[in-house]
Chain length 331, copies 2
Protein backbone atom coordinates (compact mmCIF):
# COMPACT_ATOMS: atom_id res chain seq x y z
CA UNK A 1 0.00 0.00 0.00
CA UNK A 2 0.87 3.65 0.31
CA UNK A 3 2.71 3.07 3.57
CA UNK A 4 5.51 1.23 1.87
CA UNK A 5 5.96 4.11 -0.54
CA UNK A 6 5.84 6.64 2.27
CA UNK A 7 8.62 4.90 4.12
CA UNK A 8 10.94 4.95 1.15
CA UNK A 9 9.96 8.19 -0.58
CA UNK A 10 8.10 10.36 1.92
CA UNK A 11 7.80 13.31 -0.47
CA UNK A 12 5.71 11.28 -2.88
CA UNK A 13 2.67 11.01 -0.66
CA UNK A 14 0.27 13.79 0.23
CA UNK A 15 0.69 15.65 3.49
CA UNK A 16 -2.57 14.52 5.01
CA UNK A 17 -1.95 10.89 4.23
CA UNK A 18 1.57 11.19 5.61
CA UNK A 19 0.15 12.39 8.90
CA UNK A 20 -2.31 9.55 9.12
CA UNK A 21 0.46 7.10 8.36
CA UNK A 22 2.74 8.60 10.97
CA UNK A 23 0.01 8.31 13.56
CA UNK A 24 -0.68 4.71 12.69
CA UNK A 25 3.01 3.82 12.78
CA UNK A 26 3.43 5.32 16.20
CA UNK A 27 0.28 3.69 17.48
CA UNK A 28 1.13 0.18 16.38
CA UNK A 29 4.87 0.38 16.98
CA UNK A 30 5.35 -0.89 13.46
CA UNK A 31 8.75 -2.21 12.43
CA UNK A 32 9.11 -3.09 8.76
CA UNK A 33 10.18 -6.65 8.12
CA UNK A 34 13.50 -6.36 6.36
CA UNK A 35 13.45 -9.92 5.13
CA UNK A 36 10.28 -9.36 3.20
CA UNK A 37 11.69 -6.12 1.86
CA UNK A 38 14.89 -7.78 0.82
CA UNK A 39 13.07 -10.66 -0.78
CA UNK A 40 10.86 -8.38 -2.80
CA UNK A 41 13.44 -5.83 -3.83
CA UNK A 42 16.52 -8.01 -4.11
CA UNK A 43 18.47 -5.41 -2.17
CA UNK A 44 19.58 -5.62 1.41
CA UNK A 45 21.12 -3.19 3.81
CA UNK A 46 23.64 -5.60 5.30
CA UNK A 47 27.35 -5.53 4.84
CA UNK A 48 29.05 -8.78 5.76
CA UNK A 49 32.51 -8.57 7.28
CA UNK A 50 34.70 -11.55 8.03
CA UNK A 51 37.66 -10.99 10.30
CA UNK A 52 40.12 -13.30 12.04
CA UNK A 53 39.40 -12.20 15.56
CA UNK A 54 37.03 -9.67 17.01
CA UNK A 55 38.84 -9.47 20.33
CA UNK A 56 41.98 -8.08 18.75
CA UNK A 57 42.08 -4.33 19.28
CA UNK A 58 43.34 -3.87 15.76
CA UNK A 59 40.46 -5.56 13.99
CA UNK A 60 37.99 -4.14 16.44
CA UNK A 61 39.13 -0.66 15.42
CA UNK A 62 38.77 -1.52 11.78
CA UNK A 63 35.24 -2.72 12.41
CA UNK A 64 34.50 0.49 14.26
CA UNK A 65 35.81 2.47 11.28
CA UNK A 66 33.48 0.51 9.03
CA UNK A 67 30.38 0.97 11.17
CA UNK A 68 31.05 4.61 11.89
CA UNK A 69 30.60 5.30 8.20
CA UNK A 70 28.11 2.62 7.22
CA UNK A 71 25.70 2.78 10.15
CA UNK A 72 24.65 6.42 9.57
CA UNK A 73 23.87 5.43 5.96
CA UNK A 74 21.41 2.84 7.22
CA UNK A 75 23.66 -0.11 6.59
CA UNK A 76 23.95 -2.89 9.15
CA UNK A 77 26.97 -5.01 9.87
CA UNK A 78 26.90 -8.78 9.86
CA UNK A 79 30.08 -9.87 11.55
CA UNK A 80 31.78 -13.25 11.42
CA UNK A 81 35.10 -14.33 12.84
CA UNK A 82 37.37 -17.07 11.55
CA UNK A 83 39.84 -17.55 14.35
CA UNK A 84 42.59 -17.42 11.74
CA UNK A 85 41.37 -20.48 9.87
CA UNK A 86 40.69 -20.39 6.14
CA UNK A 87 38.28 -23.31 6.53
CA UNK A 88 36.23 -21.41 9.05
CA UNK A 89 36.41 -18.43 6.76
CA UNK A 90 34.86 -20.51 4.00
CA UNK A 91 32.06 -21.69 6.29
CA UNK A 92 31.35 -18.20 7.52
CA UNK A 93 31.38 -16.83 4.01
CA UNK A 94 28.82 -19.36 2.91
CA UNK A 95 26.68 -18.47 5.89
CA UNK A 96 26.80 -14.71 5.47
CA UNK A 97 26.29 -14.84 1.71
CA UNK A 98 22.91 -16.44 2.41
CA UNK A 99 21.83 -13.00 3.63
CA UNK A 100 22.54 -11.54 0.17
CA UNK A 101 24.62 -8.78 1.67
CA UNK A 102 25.20 -5.55 -0.24
CA UNK A 103 28.92 -6.05 0.14
CA UNK A 104 31.39 -8.60 1.39
CA UNK A 105 34.49 -7.52 3.26
CA UNK A 106 37.09 -10.16 4.03
CA UNK A 107 40.49 -10.03 5.68
CA UNK A 108 43.59 -10.82 3.68
CA UNK A 109 44.13 -12.35 0.27
CA UNK A 110 44.52 -16.01 1.20
CA UNK A 111 41.37 -18.07 0.92
CA UNK A 112 40.26 -21.60 0.12
CA UNK A 113 39.33 -22.32 -3.50
CA UNK A 114 35.68 -22.55 -2.56
CA UNK A 115 35.84 -19.20 -0.79
CA UNK A 116 37.48 -17.63 -3.81
CA UNK A 117 34.75 -19.06 -6.01
CA UNK A 118 32.08 -17.51 -3.78
CA UNK A 119 33.87 -14.17 -3.82
CA UNK A 120 34.11 -14.21 -7.60
CA UNK A 121 30.47 -15.19 -7.88
CA UNK A 122 29.40 -12.40 -5.54
CA UNK A 123 31.45 -9.88 -7.47
CA UNK A 124 29.98 -11.09 -10.74
CA UNK A 125 26.51 -10.60 -9.19
CA UNK A 126 27.33 -6.96 -8.54
CA UNK A 127 28.19 -7.35 -4.88
CA UNK A 128 31.39 -5.43 -4.12
CA UNK A 129 34.03 -7.65 -2.54
CA UNK A 130 36.88 -6.12 -0.55
CA UNK A 131 40.03 -7.69 0.81
CA UNK A 132 41.29 -5.59 3.66
CA UNK A 133 44.54 -5.51 5.59
CA UNK A 134 46.51 -6.64 2.57
CA UNK A 135 47.91 -5.39 -0.69
CA UNK A 136 49.53 -7.19 -3.59
CA UNK A 137 49.84 -5.05 -6.71
CA UNK A 138 50.03 -8.21 -8.83
CA UNK A 139 46.71 -9.52 -7.53
CA UNK A 140 43.77 -7.64 -9.01
CA UNK A 141 41.01 -10.18 -8.46
CA UNK A 142 39.38 -8.07 -5.77
CA UNK A 143 39.79 -4.55 -4.55
CA UNK A 144 42.27 -4.49 -1.69
CA UNK A 145 42.44 -1.94 1.11
CA UNK A 146 45.60 -2.14 3.13
CA UNK A 147 49.31 -2.47 2.63
CA UNK A 148 51.96 -4.96 1.62
CA UNK A 149 53.21 -6.90 4.61
CA UNK A 150 56.23 -7.91 2.61
CA UNK A 151 57.10 -4.25 2.18
CA UNK A 152 56.64 -3.68 5.90
CA UNK A 153 58.98 -6.55 6.79
CA UNK A 154 61.58 -5.06 4.50
CA UNK A 155 61.04 -1.60 5.92
CA UNK A 156 61.46 -2.88 9.47
CA UNK A 157 64.71 -4.64 8.58
CA UNK A 158 66.02 -1.58 6.75
CA UNK A 159 65.30 0.62 9.75
CA UNK A 160 67.16 -1.70 12.09
CA UNK A 161 70.11 -2.13 9.73
CA UNK A 162 70.33 1.61 9.47
CA UNK A 163 70.88 1.78 13.21
CA UNK A 164 74.04 -0.24 12.72
CA UNK A 165 72.92 -3.62 14.09
CA UNK A 166 74.27 -6.87 12.64
CA UNK A 167 72.75 -9.49 14.90
CA UNK A 168 68.97 -9.76 15.03
CA UNK A 169 66.10 -11.63 16.57
CA UNK A 170 62.57 -11.75 15.20
CA UNK A 171 59.54 -12.79 17.22
CA UNK A 172 56.87 -13.97 14.82
CA UNK A 173 53.21 -14.69 15.53
CA UNK A 174 52.61 -18.19 16.87
CA UNK A 175 49.35 -18.44 14.95
CA UNK A 176 49.97 -20.76 12.00
CA UNK A 177 47.50 -19.15 9.63
CA UNK A 178 48.41 -15.56 10.41
CA UNK A 179 49.79 -15.32 6.87
CA UNK A 180 50.34 -11.60 6.99
CA UNK A 181 52.55 -11.81 10.07
CA UNK A 182 54.58 -14.58 8.45
CA UNK A 183 55.03 -12.50 5.31
CA UNK A 184 56.49 -9.70 7.38
CA UNK A 185 58.78 -12.17 9.13
CA UNK A 186 60.02 -13.66 5.86
CA UNK A 187 60.68 -10.27 4.30
CA UNK A 188 62.49 -9.18 7.46
CA UNK A 189 64.71 -12.25 7.41
CA UNK A 190 65.36 -11.97 3.67
CA UNK A 191 66.42 -8.36 3.96
CA UNK A 192 68.65 -8.94 6.97
CA UNK A 193 70.27 -11.95 5.33
CA UNK A 194 70.76 -10.14 2.05
CA UNK A 195 72.63 -7.46 3.98
CA UNK A 196 74.98 -10.13 5.27
CA UNK A 197 73.74 -9.84 8.83
CA UNK A 198 72.39 -12.55 11.09
CA UNK A 199 68.86 -13.20 12.36
CA UNK A 200 67.25 -15.82 14.55
CA UNK A 201 63.48 -16.21 14.34
CA UNK A 202 61.24 -17.56 17.06
CA UNK A 203 57.52 -17.91 17.49
CA UNK A 204 55.69 -16.23 20.31
CA UNK A 205 53.83 -18.68 22.55
CA UNK A 206 50.05 -18.53 22.18
CA UNK A 207 49.30 -16.87 25.47
CA UNK A 208 48.33 -13.30 26.35
CA UNK A 209 50.46 -11.24 23.95
CA UNK A 210 52.45 -9.12 26.42
CA UNK A 211 53.23 -12.19 28.48
CA UNK A 212 54.23 -13.93 25.25
CA UNK A 213 56.62 -11.11 24.37
CA UNK A 214 58.14 -11.29 27.80
CA UNK A 215 58.51 -15.06 27.48
CA UNK A 216 60.14 -14.71 24.08
CA UNK A 217 62.58 -12.19 25.53
CA UNK A 218 63.48 -14.49 28.39
CA UNK A 219 64.02 -17.41 26.03
CA UNK A 220 66.26 -15.33 23.79
CA UNK A 221 68.16 -14.07 26.79
CA UNK A 222 68.95 -17.64 27.80
CA UNK A 223 70.18 -18.41 24.28
CA UNK A 224 72.24 -15.22 24.16
CA UNK A 225 70.62 -11.89 23.31
CA UNK A 226 71.00 -10.41 19.84
CA UNK A 227 71.61 -6.68 19.57
CA UNK A 228 68.14 -5.99 18.23
CA UNK A 229 64.76 -7.72 18.14
CA UNK A 230 61.78 -7.01 15.93
CA UNK A 231 58.30 -8.28 16.71
CA UNK A 232 55.10 -9.25 14.96
CA UNK A 233 53.18 -6.92 17.26
CA UNK A 234 53.66 -4.07 19.70
CA UNK A 235 52.22 -6.17 22.49
CA UNK A 236 55.09 -8.63 22.10
CA UNK A 237 57.55 -5.75 22.00
CA UNK A 238 56.04 -4.14 25.10
CA UNK A 239 56.25 -7.42 27.01
CA UNK A 240 59.87 -7.85 25.98
CA UNK A 241 60.63 -4.26 26.94
CA UNK A 242 59.19 -4.76 30.40
CA UNK A 243 61.16 -7.99 30.69
CA UNK A 244 64.32 -6.15 29.68
CA UNK A 245 63.71 -3.44 32.28
CA UNK A 246 63.30 -6.11 34.92
CA UNK A 247 66.46 -7.88 33.76
CA UNK A 248 68.26 -4.53 33.86
CA UNK A 249 69.09 -4.71 30.18
CA UNK A 250 69.54 -1.22 28.79
CA UNK A 251 67.20 -0.47 25.90
CA UNK A 252 68.30 0.58 23.31
CA UNK A 253 72.01 0.49 24.15
CA UNK A 254 72.24 -3.24 24.85
CA UNK A 255 69.07 -4.26 23.08
CA UNK A 256 67.10 -2.42 20.42
CA UNK A 257 63.39 -3.17 19.96
CA UNK A 258 60.98 -2.61 17.10
CA UNK A 259 57.30 -3.47 17.27
CA UNK A 260 54.43 -3.42 14.82
CA UNK A 261 51.06 -1.74 15.06
CA UNK A 262 51.67 1.46 16.98
CA UNK A 263 49.49 0.50 19.90
CA UNK A 264 48.99 3.13 22.60
CA UNK A 265 51.30 1.35 25.00
CA UNK A 266 54.27 1.85 22.66
CA UNK A 267 53.93 5.55 22.96
CA UNK A 268 53.42 5.47 26.70
CA UNK A 269 56.24 3.28 27.95
CA UNK A 270 59.27 5.33 29.02
CA UNK A 271 61.16 6.51 25.94
CA UNK A 272 58.60 4.86 23.72
CA UNK A 273 58.84 1.72 21.63
CA UNK A 274 59.67 2.17 17.96
CA UNK A 275 57.03 0.63 15.77
CA UNK A 276 55.18 0.62 12.48
CA UNK A 277 52.06 2.72 12.44
CA UNK A 278 49.25 1.06 10.45
CA UNK A 279 45.95 2.94 11.06
CA UNK A 280 43.41 0.16 11.60
CA UNK A 281 40.57 2.64 12.00
CA UNK A 282 41.50 4.31 8.71
CA UNK A 283 41.48 0.94 6.95
CA UNK A 284 37.90 0.43 8.11
CA UNK A 285 36.92 3.90 6.98
CA UNK A 286 38.58 3.55 3.60
CA UNK A 287 36.80 0.22 3.10
CA UNK A 288 33.49 1.84 3.91
CA UNK A 289 34.10 4.76 1.56
CA UNK A 290 35.19 2.41 -1.17
CA UNK A 291 31.92 0.53 -0.76
CA UNK A 292 29.88 3.73 -0.93
CA UNK A 293 31.72 4.75 -4.10
CA UNK A 294 31.20 1.35 -5.67
CA UNK A 295 27.48 1.32 -4.87
CA UNK A 296 27.13 4.83 -6.24
CA UNK A 297 28.91 3.87 -9.45
CA UNK A 298 26.87 0.71 -9.81
CA UNK A 299 23.57 2.50 -9.29
CA UNK A 300 24.46 5.15 -11.84
CA UNK A 301 25.52 2.57 -14.36
CA UNK A 302 29.17 3.58 -14.21
CA UNK A 303 31.92 1.00 -13.90
CA UNK A 304 33.20 1.13 -10.35
CA UNK A 305 36.89 1.74 -9.80
CA UNK A 306 38.85 -1.42 -9.03
CA UNK A 307 41.96 0.36 -7.86
CA UNK A 308 43.58 -0.92 -4.69
CA UNK A 309 43.68 1.53 -1.81
CA UNK A 310 47.00 1.58 -0.05
CA UNK A 311 46.80 2.71 3.56
CA UNK A 312 50.48 3.33 3.91
CA UNK A 313 52.20 2.25 7.11
CA UNK A 314 55.23 4.07 8.35
CA UNK A 315 58.03 3.57 10.81
CA UNK A 316 57.62 5.51 14.04
CA UNK A 317 61.14 5.77 15.40
CA UNK A 318 61.09 6.14 19.16
CA UNK A 319 63.92 5.57 21.58
CA UNK A 320 63.82 1.75 21.67
CA UNK A 321 65.43 1.37 18.26
CA UNK A 322 67.90 4.22 18.26
CA UNK A 323 71.62 3.76 18.86
CA UNK A 324 74.71 2.01 17.55
CA UNK A 325 75.88 4.69 15.20
CA UNK A 326 72.40 5.52 14.09
CA UNK A 327 71.74 8.73 12.15
CA UNK A 328 69.83 9.88 15.22
CA UNK A 329 72.41 9.00 17.91
CA UNK A 330 75.82 9.35 16.30
CA UNK A 331 78.52 7.43 18.20
Amino acid sequence: MTVSRYLREPQRVAGVTAQRIDAALALTGYTPNKHAGMLASGRSSVVAAIIPNIASATFAETVQGLTDILQPRGMELLLASTNYSVEREEEQMRAVLGWSPSALVVTGRRHTDAALAMMRQAQADGVPVLEMWDHDPADRSFVQVGFSHQAVGTMMAAHMLQQGHRDFGYVDSGVREDFRAHERAQAFVATITAAGARVRVCEAPRIEPMAAGRAAFTAMQKAGLPGAIAFASDNFAAGAYLGAIEAQIDVPRELALLGFGDFPISRQLPGGISTVSVSPYAIGQVCARQLLATWAALSEGRTPSRRHRVVAPKIVARRSSQGRGSPFNPP
Copy 2:
Protein backbone atom coordinates in the same frame (compact mmCIF):
# COMPACT_ATOMS: atom_id res chain seq x y z
CA MET B 1 10.29 -29.19 -3.12
CA THR B 2 12.25 -32.06 -1.69
CA VAL B 3 15.47 -30.08 -1.65
CA SER B 4 14.22 -27.80 1.06
CA ARG B 5 13.34 -30.79 3.21
CA TYR B 6 16.69 -32.42 2.51
CA LEU B 7 18.57 -29.36 3.69
CA ARG B 8 16.79 -29.28 7.02
CA GLU B 9 16.13 -32.96 7.70
CA PRO B 10 18.50 -34.99 5.53
CA GLN B 11 17.42 -38.30 7.01
CA ARG B 12 13.88 -37.85 5.77
CA VAL B 13 14.68 -38.18 2.08
CA ALA B 14 15.65 -41.38 0.30
CA GLY B 15 19.32 -42.14 -0.29
CA VAL B 16 19.13 -41.95 -4.09
CA THR B 17 17.34 -38.63 -4.08
CA ALA B 18 19.82 -37.28 -1.55
CA GLN B 19 22.66 -38.12 -3.91
CA ARG B 20 21.01 -36.42 -6.83
CA ILE B 21 20.35 -33.37 -4.69
CA ASP B 22 23.94 -33.25 -3.46
CA ALA B 23 25.19 -33.38 -7.02
CA ALA B 24 22.87 -30.60 -8.12
CA LEU B 25 23.83 -28.42 -5.16
CA ALA B 26 27.53 -28.80 -5.89
CA LEU B 27 27.00 -28.20 -9.58
CA THR B 28 25.05 -24.99 -9.23
CA GLY B 29 26.87 -23.64 -6.18
CA TYR B 30 23.50 -23.14 -4.56
CA THR B 31 23.24 -20.92 -1.51
CA PRO B 32 19.85 -20.89 0.18
CA ASN B 33 18.30 -17.45 0.49
CA LYS B 34 17.97 -16.88 4.20
CA HIS B 35 15.53 -14.02 3.76
CA ALA B 36 13.05 -16.22 2.00
CA GLY B 37 13.56 -18.89 4.64
CA MET B 38 13.06 -16.42 7.41
CA LEU B 39 10.00 -14.95 5.80
CA ALA B 40 8.38 -18.32 5.36
CA SER B 41 9.32 -19.84 8.68
CA GLY B 42 9.26 -16.79 10.91
CA ARG B 43 12.55 -17.89 12.42
CA SER B 44 15.97 -16.43 11.74
CA SER B 45 19.49 -17.40 12.68
CA VAL B 46 20.63 -13.91 13.63
CA VAL B 47 21.40 -12.63 17.05
CA ALA B 48 21.47 -8.86 17.28
CA ALA B 49 23.94 -7.31 19.68
CA ILE B 50 24.10 -3.62 20.50
CA ILE B 51 27.21 -2.38 22.24
CA PRO B 52 28.56 1.08 23.04
CA ASN B 53 31.84 0.75 21.19
CA ILE B 54 33.34 -2.05 19.17
CA ALA B 55 36.86 -0.67 19.37
CA SER B 56 36.99 -1.07 23.12
CA ALA B 57 38.96 -4.20 23.96
CA THR B 58 36.46 -5.02 26.68
CA PHE B 59 33.38 -5.13 24.49
CA ALA B 60 35.31 -6.72 21.66
CA GLU B 61 36.13 -9.60 23.99
CA THR B 62 32.53 -9.93 25.02
CA VAL B 63 31.51 -10.09 21.38
CA GLN B 64 34.14 -12.74 20.77
CA GLY B 65 32.72 -14.74 23.69
CA LEU B 66 29.28 -14.50 22.13
CA THR B 67 30.34 -15.56 18.64
CA ASP B 68 32.62 -18.34 19.86
CA ILE B 69 29.56 -20.07 21.22
CA LEU B 70 26.87 -18.93 18.79
CA GLN B 71 28.71 -19.25 15.50
CA PRO B 72 29.32 -23.02 15.77
CA ARG B 73 25.57 -23.39 16.38
CA GLY B 74 24.89 -21.75 13.04
CA MET B 75 23.87 -18.40 14.49
CA GLU B 76 25.11 -15.19 12.93
CA LEU B 77 25.84 -11.95 14.68
CA LEU B 78 24.34 -8.64 13.67
CA LEU B 79 26.37 -6.01 15.42
CA ALA B 80 25.47 -2.39 16.07
CA SER B 81 27.31 0.22 18.07
CA THR B 82 25.81 3.19 19.87
CA ASN B 83 28.82 5.31 20.70
CA TYR B 84 27.45 5.60 24.23
CA SER B 85 24.27 7.33 23.18
CA VAL B 86 20.86 6.04 24.19
CA GLU B 87 19.33 7.78 21.19
CA ARG B 88 21.62 5.95 18.82
CA GLU B 89 20.84 2.79 20.73
CA GLU B 90 17.16 3.31 20.04
CA GLU B 91 17.81 3.83 16.33
CA GLN B 92 20.03 0.80 16.09
CA MET B 93 17.52 -1.30 17.97
CA ARG B 94 14.79 -0.34 15.56
CA ALA B 95 17.06 -1.21 12.67
CA VAL B 96 18.20 -4.59 13.92
CA LEU B 97 14.74 -5.63 15.06
CA GLY B 98 13.67 -5.34 11.43
CA TRP B 99 15.70 -8.48 10.82
CA SER B 100 13.53 -10.38 13.31
CA PRO B 101 16.54 -11.64 15.19
CA SER B 102 16.33 -14.76 17.33
CA ALA B 103 17.60 -12.77 20.26
CA LEU B 104 18.46 -9.24 21.23
CA VAL B 105 21.47 -8.49 23.39
CA VAL B 106 21.91 -4.96 24.63
CA THR B 107 24.44 -3.32 26.90
CA GLY B 108 23.36 -1.94 30.23
CA ARG B 109 19.99 -1.24 31.75
CA ARG B 110 19.47 2.40 30.75
CA HIS B 111 17.43 2.90 27.62
CA THR B 112 15.04 5.39 26.08
CA ASP B 113 11.33 4.73 26.63
CA ALA B 114 10.92 3.75 23.00
CA ALA B 115 13.81 1.31 23.25
CA LEU B 116 12.30 -0.21 26.38
CA ALA B 117 9.00 -0.60 24.58
CA MET B 118 10.71 -2.42 21.72
CA MET B 119 12.53 -4.68 24.14
CA ARG B 120 9.32 -5.53 25.96
CA GLN B 121 7.56 -6.17 22.66
CA ALA B 122 10.35 -8.44 21.47
CA GLN B 123 10.29 -10.36 24.70
CA ALA B 124 6.53 -10.73 24.51
CA ASP B 125 6.99 -12.10 20.99
CA GLY B 126 9.21 -14.83 22.34
CA VAL B 127 12.52 -13.20 21.44
CA PRO B 128 14.91 -13.45 24.38
CA VAL B 129 16.24 -10.05 25.42
CA LEU B 130 19.44 -9.78 27.44
CA GLU B 131 20.97 -6.82 29.20
CA MET B 132 24.66 -7.45 29.61
CA TRP B 133 27.36 -5.77 31.62
CA ASP B 134 24.92 -4.76 34.33
CA HIS B 135 23.01 -6.14 37.25
CA ASP B 136 20.30 -4.69 39.40
CA PRO B 137 18.53 -7.24 41.59
CA ALA B 138 15.52 -4.92 41.80
CA ASP B 139 15.08 -4.74 38.05
CA ARG B 140 13.63 -7.93 36.63
CA SER B 141 12.27 -6.62 33.33
CA PHE B 142 14.92 -8.44 31.33
CA VAL B 143 17.48 -11.08 32.08
CA GLN B 144 20.74 -9.42 33.02
CA VAL B 145 24.22 -10.90 32.65
CA GLY B 146 26.89 -8.94 34.45
CA PHE B 147 27.45 -7.32 37.79
CA SER B 148 26.42 -4.35 39.88
CA HIS B 149 28.64 -1.38 39.19
CA GLN B 150 27.45 0.18 42.39
CA ALA B 151 28.77 -2.83 44.29
CA VAL B 152 32.07 -2.55 42.45
CA GLY B 153 32.45 1.12 43.34
CA THR B 154 31.84 0.24 46.96
CA MET B 155 34.25 -2.66 46.79
CA MET B 156 36.95 -0.44 45.32
CA ALA B 157 36.51 2.14 48.05
CA ALA B 158 36.52 -0.52 50.76
CA HIS B 159 39.76 -1.96 49.44
CA MET B 160 41.46 1.42 49.46
CA LEU B 161 40.15 2.35 52.90
CA GLN B 162 41.45 -0.95 54.19
CA GLN B 163 44.93 0.09 53.10
CA GLY B 164 44.68 2.97 55.52
CA HIS B 165 44.23 5.87 53.12
CA ARG B 166 42.13 8.92 54.06
CA ASP B 167 42.60 11.20 51.09
CA PHE B 168 41.43 10.01 47.69
CA GLY B 169 41.16 10.92 44.07
CA TYR B 170 38.82 9.30 41.55
CA VAL B 171 39.23 9.56 37.79
CA ASP B 172 35.87 8.93 36.18
CA SER B 173 35.09 8.33 32.53
CA GLY B 174 34.71 11.53 30.52
CA VAL B 175 31.94 9.99 28.45
CA ARG B 176 28.67 11.50 29.64
CA GLU B 177 26.47 8.51 28.94
CA ASP B 178 28.82 5.90 30.32
CA PHE B 179 26.28 5.30 33.07
CA ARG B 180 28.00 2.26 34.47
CA ALA B 181 31.27 4.10 35.01
CA HIS B 182 29.41 6.92 36.75
CA GLU B 183 27.63 4.46 39.01
CA ARG B 184 30.97 3.10 40.12
CA ALA B 185 32.23 6.62 40.73
CA GLN B 186 29.18 7.56 42.79
CA ALA B 187 29.36 4.45 44.91
CA PHE B 188 33.08 5.00 45.44
CA VAL B 189 32.52 8.56 46.58
CA ALA B 190 29.59 7.61 48.80
CA THR B 191 31.58 4.90 50.54
CA ILE B 192 34.65 7.07 51.05
CA THR B 193 32.56 9.94 52.35
CA ALA B 194 30.55 7.69 54.65
CA ALA B 195 33.85 6.55 56.15
CA GLY B 196 34.65 10.17 56.93
CA ALA B 197 37.48 10.34 54.41
CA ARG B 198 37.96 12.79 51.58
CA VAL B 199 37.72 12.32 47.85
CA ARG B 200 38.12 14.56 44.83
CA VAL B 201 36.63 13.38 41.54
CA CYS B 202 37.79 14.40 38.10
CA GLU B 203 36.87 13.35 34.60
CA ALA B 204 39.41 11.89 32.23
CA PRO B 205 39.81 13.92 29.06
CA ARG B 206 38.38 12.22 25.97
CA ILE B 207 41.66 11.31 24.35
CA GLU B 208 43.49 7.99 24.05
CA PRO B 209 42.88 6.38 27.47
CA MET B 210 46.46 5.93 28.70
CA ALA B 211 47.29 9.47 27.69
CA ALA B 212 44.12 10.56 29.48
CA GLY B 213 45.19 8.78 32.66
CA ARG B 214 48.57 10.43 32.48
CA ALA B 215 46.95 13.82 31.95
CA ALA B 216 44.63 13.26 34.91
CA PHE B 217 47.61 12.36 37.06
CA THR B 218 49.48 15.49 36.02
CA ALA B 219 46.46 17.66 36.73
CA MET B 220 46.02 16.11 40.17
CA GLN B 221 49.71 16.52 40.87
CA LYS B 222 49.41 20.24 40.21
CA ALA B 223 46.44 20.48 42.56
CA GLY B 224 48.26 18.45 45.21
CA LEU B 225 48.30 14.66 45.06
CA PRO B 226 45.99 12.60 47.26
CA GLY B 227 47.41 9.46 48.83
CA ALA B 228 45.42 7.16 46.59
CA ILE B 229 43.63 7.35 43.25
CA ALA B 230 41.07 5.00 41.79
CA PHE B 231 40.17 4.96 38.10
CA ALA B 232 37.29 4.11 35.82
CA SER B 233 39.61 1.90 33.79
CA ASP B 234 42.97 0.20 33.91
CA ASN B 235 44.14 2.22 30.93
CA PHE B 236 43.73 5.39 32.94
CA ALA B 237 45.52 3.79 35.86
CA ALA B 238 48.36 2.58 33.64
CA GLY B 239 48.82 6.04 32.16
CA ALA B 240 48.87 7.57 35.62
CA TYR B 241 51.34 4.95 36.83
CA LEU B 242 53.70 5.72 33.96
CA GLY B 243 53.30 9.41 34.70
CA ALA B 244 54.11 8.76 38.35
CA ILE B 245 57.24 6.81 37.42
CA GLU B 246 58.35 9.69 35.25
CA ALA B 247 57.63 12.19 38.01
CA GLN B 248 59.57 9.95 40.41
CA ILE B 249 56.58 9.49 42.66
CA ASP B 250 56.89 6.23 44.55
CA VAL B 251 53.94 3.89 43.96
CA PRO B 252 52.44 2.74 46.26
CA ARG B 253 54.29 4.48 49.09
CA GLU B 254 53.53 8.05 48.02
CA LEU B 255 50.61 7.26 45.78
CA ALA B 256 48.41 4.18 45.68
CA LEU B 257 46.57 3.27 42.47
CA LEU B 258 43.56 1.09 41.73
CA GLY B 259 42.24 0.45 38.24
CA PHE B 260 39.23 -1.35 36.81
CA GLY B 261 39.06 -4.07 34.21
CA ASP B 262 42.17 -6.17 34.78
CA PHE B 263 43.66 -5.41 31.38
CA PRO B 264 46.87 -7.24 30.48
CA ILE B 265 48.96 -4.14 31.00
CA SER B 266 48.05 -4.02 34.68
CA ARG B 267 49.64 -7.37 35.23
CA GLN B 268 52.72 -6.52 33.17
CA LEU B 269 53.79 -3.17 34.53
CA PRO B 270 56.46 -3.51 37.23
CA GLY B 271 54.84 -4.61 40.47
CA GLY B 272 51.48 -4.72 38.78
CA ILE B 273 48.51 -2.40 39.09
CA SER B 274 45.75 -3.40 41.48
CA THR B 275 42.44 -3.64 39.72
CA VAL B 276 39.01 -5.22 39.50
CA SER B 277 38.84 -8.30 37.36
CA VAL B 278 35.61 -8.45 35.35
CA SER B 279 35.88 -11.26 32.71
CA PRO B 280 34.45 -9.65 29.56
CA TYR B 281 34.90 -12.84 27.56
CA ALA B 282 32.98 -14.80 30.19
CA ILE B 283 30.14 -12.30 30.05
CA GLY B 284 29.83 -12.95 26.33
CA GLN B 285 29.90 -16.68 26.86
CA VAL B 286 27.35 -16.59 29.64
CA CYS B 287 25.07 -14.48 27.45
CA ALA B 288 25.37 -17.00 24.65
CA ARG B 289 24.67 -19.94 26.94
CA GLN B 290 21.72 -18.14 28.45
CA LEU B 291 20.31 -17.66 24.95
CA LEU B 292 20.79 -21.33 24.09
CA ALA B 293 19.01 -22.33 27.29
CA THR B 294 16.15 -19.92 26.62
CA TRP B 295 15.66 -21.14 23.07
CA ALA B 296 15.74 -24.73 24.25
CA ALA B 297 13.14 -24.02 26.91
CA LEU B 298 10.96 -22.10 24.48
CA SER B 299 11.08 -24.83 21.85
CA GLU B 300 10.16 -27.48 24.40
CA GLY B 301 7.30 -25.43 25.73
CA ARG B 302 8.94 -24.87 29.09
CA THR B 303 9.08 -21.44 30.70
CA PRO B 304 12.62 -20.14 30.30
CA SER B 305 14.48 -19.11 33.42
CA ARG B 306 14.53 -15.37 33.97
CA ARG B 307 17.19 -15.42 36.64
CA HIS B 308 19.94 -12.84 36.35
CA ARG B 309 23.43 -14.22 35.85
CA VAL B 310 26.00 -12.50 37.98
CA VAL B 311 29.51 -12.64 36.58
CA ALA B 312 31.21 -11.65 39.79
CA PRO B 313 34.08 -9.19 39.62
CA LYS B 314 36.80 -9.31 42.20
CA ILE B 315 39.60 -7.14 43.45
CA VAL B 316 43.04 -8.17 42.23
CA ALA B 317 45.41 -6.66 44.76
CA ARG B 318 48.79 -6.05 43.23
CA ARG B 319 51.55 -3.82 44.50
CA SER B 320 50.10 -0.47 43.38
CA SER B 321 47.49 -0.38 46.12
CA GLN B 322 49.34 -1.93 49.02
CA GLY B 323 50.82 0.08 51.84
CA ARG B 324 49.95 2.52 54.65
CA GLY B 325 49.28 0.00 57.37
CA SER B 326 47.45 -2.37 55.14
CA PRO B 327 46.79 -5.95 56.19
CA PHE B 328 49.29 -6.94 53.52
CA ASN B 329 52.08 -4.49 54.42
CA PRO B 330 51.83 -3.90 58.16
CA PRO B 331 53.59 -0.69 59.24
